[in-house]
């Protein structure tokens, strides 16, 4: 569910926290900062976080958002957690390929595959 003023929809099931974005365009630096802060808070509250970030409704994503994802990934790894990305639009996936971040992140086509990949 999405809390008032939150830029995220968060659901937890079987120890996996699934995160979706409220915004279709993740471009505005202030919004990206808020998204980063909200996800960091979620990670802080978990012992060994298993996060699935779904880009199901996202049309545009800037390099600032990529930077936030890298910071999130580093934070999760610091807590021996796991991060999966899923449901990325082909054009946005190209952004990951261009920046070679498709090699850094574990990216799955759909949520079910991503959930099954957690160890």
């Amino acid at each position: 569910m999405s809390a008032t003023g939150s830029r995220l929809r968060v659901a937890e099931q079987d120890g996996i926290t699934r995160i979706e974005f409220v915004d279709r365009n993740i471009l505005d630096e202030a919004n990206i900062q808020q998204i980063g802060d909200e996800i960091s808070q979620i990670i802080d509250e978990l012992e060994s976080p298993k996060l699935l970030i779904s880009f199901e409704n996202v049309d545009h994503l800037s390099s600032a958002a990529l930077g936030t994802l890298i910071t999130i990934n580093n934070k999760i790894r610091g807590k021996d957690g796991q991060l999966r990305l899923a449901n990325i639009d082909p054009q946005i996936y190209e952004v990951f390929v261009i920046t070679k971040l498709n090699k850094l992140f574990e990216i799955h086509d759909g949520s079910e595959q991503a959930i099954a990949s957690f160890s």
Partner: protein, 146 residues
């Protein structure tokens, strides 16, 4: 700002933008509307929008240092075959050769520095004019024939 009403005539526009999200988005949407009106396909529009976003973000953040008193000049020329976007900030400029390549293995986990890579990837040509506070980006719709 100048504007040509016919879709077949080149559109030119110049905007002075403050670091306010609504001003940035208004200019972006005006430019994108002109591009879409000329039937540039979805992939072109996606790439040009991203390059424009990255260039403006760099101009305000790194160029103007997020100084609310400083503005960015955005000029564009849009025709059926070519899009030229020219962005100038009020900063000191930078040396693009000194920016670490974020696609190199040793830099891939650094959470910054990807804007220029994306601009260069999605646009046909990106030129940074000395002293480095002005970027000129060109997209050719048909590079082999334009």
């Amino acid at each position: 700002m100048s504007r040509c009403p016919s879709a077949n005539q080149p559109f030119t526009g110049t905007y002075v933008i403050r670091n306010l999200r609504q001003e940035i988005e208004r200019a972006q949407l005006l430019i994108l509307a002109e591009i879409e009106r000329r039937d540039y396909d979805r992939a072109c529009c996606f790439g040009i929008r991203l390059a424009l976003e990255e260039a403006l973000s760099n101009a305000f953040k790194h160029g103007n240092g997020d100084d609310p008193e400083k503005t960015v000049r955005l000029a564009c020329s849009i025709s059926d075959g070519k899009v030229v976007i020219d962005i100038e900030d009020q900063g000191q400029g930078f040396d693009p050769g000194a920016v670490p390549d974020p696609t190199q293995q040793e830099n891939v986990e650094i959470p910054a520095g990807r804007g220029l890579v994306l601009m260069r990837s999605f646009m046909t040509d990106v030129r940074i004019h000395p002293p480095g506070n002005r970027v000129e980006m060109t997209y050719l719709r048909h590079p082999k024939t334009a």
